[in-house]
């Protein structure tokens, strides 16, 4: 490749990398933990649920309870399972009954416990798991800024990846197994950066593209709706199969019994290995009441197997269905693949653990990139003032990024000791704690110190997590394993493993000329 092109790609790779580095680190660190969002929530609540996409709920009992509170007549009710939790999401529309009271004309949104039918609002069911998940797309930065920042960072990450690969192109094969930690500092960081960058390339590419899609899809959607659809947003959603069929109420009361469990069972019987993930009740209690049952085949059976069935209650008949075995389209495939690839939830725990490891490796690629940038400019021909500035930048970057490990570990302990707390507690504890740690490490002015002591404190706190859990819940790790409380056991075991690894790394760190 010509010298000029090489230099241009190199320079743009460096600039894009440095600019996005801190925010990208936050996204990848929080994102890695997000693979275990549901396990973290199970651990926080000392609950373990079966790992399945199937809604496990006695719908009839649940609706009886809801009916007592909300008078469901004439309303649309949406019940969906989005996570492996002991609760489902319930959305109740305002009543469309012409004789409805004022109270019945309000909509409701809640989480319903699948075992005791107790209700929680979003804020009441807020958890550390949800916090870390939302942190990874910067949701805590007021909408829309956080979302768009995360999305554009993902886009520029894609730029950094592609330019990085082009810069490294000639040496991809020759340097694949090359790691020279004992040569000069710049070589150590460069070898680490390129080797791990190449290993993680497919993973990082997928996350850059899917990440950009999720957060900034509006920039693609808006012109499409304006030009192709002349502003008809509803038609757009309908074409892309994001809308459901609608049914008008007939304003007559249904006399037959409403048995939702029956419709769910019928649907499961239509196709083997079919998991019902959503149930939509339209015009509850009306003669034109319909039940829409949505779901998908188990991922082991078929990667993209979205299916649905629609029933009319008054005649107890199947009105239409979408066969998940025969009728999956390219559209279904792409929509599904974007989610599966990003969430990494189609390959059990093995895939999640590998994805977590690759996520942390990506964090290391970012850190090593900052180090290359710093060390490469630590030369005699660079003015002293610039070198001091560069050093300060690196110190702040490291302080912010690496503090995430101890504050995350400490937050696990905090939510176990001070539970049940809510969003305000989690926000305050995590953000203020993080800020304090970042300021502390910035003041210490040593990259070696920050590196060693964030890893060390994180490791110690990590070991304490299962201990605190045992003391508070009495559900010690051997008990949760024995009783099959897998989600609780997993988080305790996860932290012990992670703490051992980071502690080992801490001991391996030798002070180089700082």
């Amino acid at each position: 490749m010509k010298n000029r092109i090489y230099n241009v790609l190199f320079h743009t790779h460096t600039v894009s990398g440095i600019v996005i580095s801190v925010v990208l680190y936050i996204i990848f660190f929080a994102g890695s933990f997000s693979f275990f969002r549901d396990e973290i929530i199970g651990w926080e609540n000392n609950q373990s649920v079966e790992i399945t996409n199937q809604i496990q709920l006695n719908f009839n009992a649940a609706l009886d309870t809801l009916n007592a509170t909300y008078d469901l007549h004439g309303r649309d009710i949406d019940i969906s399972k989005n996570h492996m939790e002991q609760q489902v999401r319930v959305s109740i529309s305002a009543s469309k009954d012409t004789l409805a009271t004022e109270e019945a004309k309000t909509s409701h949104f809640l989480y319903l416990d699948t075992k005791d039918y107790s209700e929680k609002t979003y804020l009441e069911s807020y958890s550390l798991g949800e916090f870390l998940y939302r942190l990874h797309f910067l949701a805590q930065i007021p909408y829309p800024f956080g979302y768009y920042l995360a999305g554009f960072i993902a886009l520029f990450f894609l730029f950094a990846i592609i330019t990085g690969v082009l810069v490294h192109w000639k040496k991809i094969v020759t340097n694949f197994f090359l790691f020279r930690p004992l040569k000069k500092l710049k070589t150590l960081w460069t070898d680490a950066h390129t080797a791990l960058g190449m290993l993680g390339l497919p993973f990082q590419f997928i996350y850059a593209v899917t990440g950009a899609f999720f957060m900034i899809k509006l920039v693609l959607v808006a012109p499409t709706v304006m030009v192709l659809y002349d502003g008809d947003q509803a038609k757009f959603y309908e074409d892309l199969e994001y809308s459901r069929p609608t049914f008008e109420p007939e304003h007559n009361t249904l006399t037959s019994k409403i048995d939702i469990n029956y419709y769910v069972e019928q649907t499961k019987n239509l196709w083997d290995d079919f998991n019902v993930t959503e149930v939509h009740l339209v015009n509850y209690g009306d003669t034109n009441m319909h039940v829409l049952v949505n779901g998908s085949l188990d991922f082991k059976t078929k990667f993209t197997g979205t299916g649905a069935a629609i029933y009319k209650v008054s005649s107890n008949s199947l009105v239409s269905k979408k066969d998940p075995i025969k009728n999956t389209s390219y559209l279904d495939g792409v929509k599904n693949t974007l989610y599966r690839l990003h969430f990494g939830d189609y390959g059990g725990y093995a895939l999640k653990i590998i994805s977590f490891a690759l996520g942390l490796i990506s964090c290391f690629v970012i850190i090593s990139g900052v180090m290359i940038w710093l060390v490469a400019r630590d030369k005699k021909n660079i003015p002293e003032k610039k070198r001091r500035f560069n050093k300060r930048v690196a110190i702040v970057y490291f302080a912010i990024s690496l503090s995430m490990y101890p504050i995350t570990a400490l937050s696990f302990i905090a939510v176990k000791i001070f539970q049940p707390e809510g969003q305000l507690f989690i926000y305050s504890f995590y953000f203020i704690g993080w800020l304090l740690l970042a300021i502390f490490f910035t003041i210490k002015k040593s990259l070696y110190f920050t590196n060693k002591y964030t890893l060390l404190s994180g490791s110690i706190l990590g070991f304490l997590i299962p201990i605190v859990n045992g003391v508070v819940t009495k559900n010690w790790i051997w008990k949760s394993l024995y009783n099959g409380d897998f989600q609780v056991f997993f988080i305790d075991a996860f932290w012990i493993t992670l703490a051992v690894i980071t502690l080992w790394i801490t001991f391996k760190l030798k002070r180089k000329t700082d």
Binding site: N7, L9, I162, T210, F213, L220, L228, Y330, V334
Partner: protein
């Protein structure tokens, strides 16, 4: 390792290349996908653009930086956008999407 200064551009050139890549690349990407929507199955093109859109956009950003003159690449991207826009305009009239 800091890039050789002889290959770096003046400030106006930098502005030109960055904006050409970001804005110009964006316009080319969306008009390109819209043209395809009129001539292929529009639903499939739209859903494919959820990943090809970003990849193409980034590719165009890289090309913008490789250009020797930032304003020239702006011109090229604008011309391509205008060409695609013209095709979209005439496609809307003579070969519109048949919505079901």
């Amino acid at each position: 390792m800091p890039a050789n200064p002889q290959y770096l551009s003046s400030n106006w050139q930098r502005f030109a290349k960055i904006s050409a890549g970001f804005l110009g690349g964006y316009f080319v990407t969306i008009t390109f996908h819209m043209v395809l929507s009129y001539w292929l199955n529009h639903v499939n093109v739209i859903i494919t653009s959820t990943f090809t859109g970003y990849i193409l956009w980034v590719g165009l950003m890289i090309i913008a930086f490789l250009a020797k003159n930032g304003w020239k690449i702006w011109g090229i991207y604008l011309l391509i956008t205008l060409l695609f826009s013209a095709i979209i305009y005439f496609s809307k009239i003579y070969h519109p999407i048949l919505f079901s």
